[in-house]
Every structure is written in structure tokens, then in C-alpha cells.
């Protein structure tokens, strides 16, 4: 009886091991946002009390399974203790499926592609009473979280990358746009 039980347990163990190996070999979707290859900030538009900047952040699914980006959002770390001269709102959209409502449309991305897509991230500063140029003179380095929700072969999860936007980049974007006027 014990021998039969032993064989049974050994068989179960082998099945579990085989399934685990299969899952490990199969892999999963693995999205990477390529911060090192992002574009520089560009000043897209300017009014008396508002400036809108944007930059492009390439991303791809480097995993071994296709996966869905269910949501992508940009969350600035800009506390009012540090910068209160303007209010910052952000939008993220995929260049392949552009939207201007701030809604990220879920999309399935094939695996192992060199260039899946590019996220266009827009930063809009609204001066809190006054001139946006004066407000932006007080701008500081901006750490920006790009948070994304993935659905693949495993259960959904949220993860993020950090994009550091130094003050010099804002200044250069404003200067460049000014020079073009």
C-alpha cells in the first residue's frame, strides 16, 4: 500500500514539475519603457498662462508572450512645497493610436518586437494666477513616474519606470521654441 502511495506521490510530483517547467519555458509578456532613448522635451504650445510640453518614450514587449497594456499613466512628483507657481496635468497616448482625452486605449502587443510603439507624454502647466513664463522660471527638476498595467499569461499587475526631466530641459525647450518664433 505504501509503495503504491509512494509511486502515486512521485507521479504527482513529476506532473507538477513538468507543468512548472512548461510555464517557465513559455515565459510571459515583458514590457520595457526605454527611458534611455526617450526624446527631449519639446514646447508644443504656449499661451499667456499655459505651456504644454511633450516627449516621446519608446516601449516594446521583449517577453516571449504577447501582452496587453491595459493602462499607462504619468504621475509627476511635484509637491507644492517645491513648486506651486503652476498646476501640472499629464496625458499619455500611444503614437499608433493617438487620443487627446487622456484615456489609454488597451492594446495587445506582440512579443519580441524591436519597436512596438511609442508613448507620447504631454505635460501641461497652468499658471496659478499670473504669467506662465514667470511661473516656469521657478520650475524644478521633475521626476515623472510612468505607471503601466500589464495583462499577459500571468495575472494583471502594475509596475512603473521613472523618467527624470531636469530643469535645463524645460529651459532649453522654452528657449528653442522662443528662437523659432
Amino acid at each position: 500500500m505504501l509503495v503504491i502511495l509512494g509511486y502515486g506521490l512521485a507521479f504527482m510530483g513529476l506532473v507538477i514539475l513538468a507543468v512548472a517547467l512548461f510555464i517557465w519555458k513559455q515565459g510571459d509578456a515583458d514590457f520595457v519603457f526605454d527611458v534611455a532613448n526617450r526624446s527631449k522635451l519639446v514646447l508644443e504650445s504656449e499661451t499667456a498662462n499655459q505651456m504644454e510640453f511633450s516627449f516621446r518614450l519608446p516601449f516594446r514587449n521583449r517577453g516571449s508572450q504577447q501582452g496587453t497594456l491595459m493602462d499607462v499613466l504619468a504621475r509627476p512628483w511635484l509637491p507644492c512645497e517645491q513648486f506651486s507657481a503652476a498646476e501640472l496635468t499629464t496625458r499619455v497616448t500611444a503614437v499608433s493610436c493617438p487620443r487627446n482625452d487622456g484615456y489609454w486605449e488597451s492594446a495587445l502587443f506582440p512579443m519580441d518586437k524591436i519597436d512596438n510603439d511609442v508613448a507620447l507624454i504631454t505635460l501641461r502647466f497652468d499658471a496659478r494666477g499670473g504669467d506662465i513664463r514667470q511661473a516656469m522660471e521657478k520650475m524644478v527638476d521633475l521626476p515623472l513616474n510612468v505607471i503601466y498595467q500589464v495583462v499577459g499569461r500571468s495575472d494583471w499587475y502594475l509596475t512603473k519606470v521613472m523618467v527624470d526631466l531636469p530643469i535645463e530641459e524645460f529651459q532649453n525647450a522654452i528657449k528653442t521654441a522662443g528662437g523659432q518664433k
Binding site: F22, I23, Q65, Q66, T68, S106, A107, R153, D155
Partner: protein, 221 residues
Amino acid sequence: MEQGKVELIPVKTHIVTKRDNIVDVIEKYAGPQMGPDDVVSVAESVLAITQGRYRRPEDMDPSTLAIVLSRFVHRDSSCSSPCGMQATMDEGGTLRVIMAFFVGGIAKVFGKAGVFYRLAGEQAALIDDVTGTMPPFDKVLVFGPKEPYKVAEAIKERLGCYGAAVADVNDLKRAAVLGVSQGLDPKELARILIDNPFGNANQQTPIVIIKNYAAAAAARG
């Protein structure tokens, strides 16, 4: 319109939600264009949405079994994600899905595909995973609708048209009619709708009027 030929007219609607009644929606948008010879068809996912038959992945807690089984399903299937498999198990029953999984696996070894979907219950083939439907339902799993035959009868009765149907059509040339009002042939309707005139992605046209259906059917004999 050529005598004896049907004409397909996609009908644009607002974004339909679970606050809508599908019969009211069809009456509002398709009613003015409907005649006694016409058949109206509605996309099954939109009917399911009005019935509240969808769930967010965030509200689901897939079991270990769902996580493991989903790994053995083709990547393009809605059952290939843990939530998709869990939804199939919730709808079809866990034991039924396990049985379908093993029988389907054996059938596949012998070169017969699709057995899992036939055995796991009709919902296995009807569930749309995330991205399967237009925003804002691109972030939810949409199940198949309930009582499509009853709904088709209710639509026909309200509109006074020749008939009504609930259809599942996609761009991969796959069409299935899930429910029809009395007297209609689901296979014939599936053939007519095979080119997916619904545009139930961002075109926002989940209703299709099949004009002149009765006359065309009579002409065919």
C-alpha cells in the same frame, strides 16, 4: 436597391452601457429605418453589456487552477489569460472546464482542434478578454449574452419587423448567430453577416439592419 437582394445598413448608437435597455436602443436608432421586410441584428457583446455581463480583471481573483490551465490555451484565445479562464470556469463550471481541458487536449493530440470550446460551455467561445471591445469596455472581460432568443423575439415584437437576431461576428470571417426570432435561419443570417458590418470597435455601429430580407428570402424560394 436591387430586387431580391439584401442591403446591410450599420446603425450608429451612443456608447451603450448597462443602464440601457437593448430593445429601447434598437427602437430609437434603427426603428425609423425599419420596414416589415427587414431584419435587425445586434452585436452580442453590446447586448451582454446592457445585461451587465462584464467584469474588470481588478475585481477578479483567478484560482491557481485557472492560472495553470490558461497557460495551455492558444495565446489568441480569451481563455489564455488567468482572468479569461476564471471567467470561463465561473460561467461553465470548474469541473466541466477541467473535463473539457483534458478531452480537448487528447483530441488535439489526434489533430482535432476546438474540442475544448465545444465542451467547456458556450461562454468559453463568447467571452471577450480585455481589448476585445471598444472603450470604455476595452478594460473589461465581456461575457456572452443571456437569453438571446428571448431578446430577439422582444426586439421583433417591439419593432414590428420581419425578424431580429443576436450575432457574434468578427473580422476574421467568423460569424455565429446566437439567437433569432421565430422563423429565421441562424446559418443563413451568419452567411449574410460574415463580412462583419457591425464595426463594434470604434465605429460605434453595433446594430445592422438587413433590408429587404423577407423579399430576398422569398425570391430564393
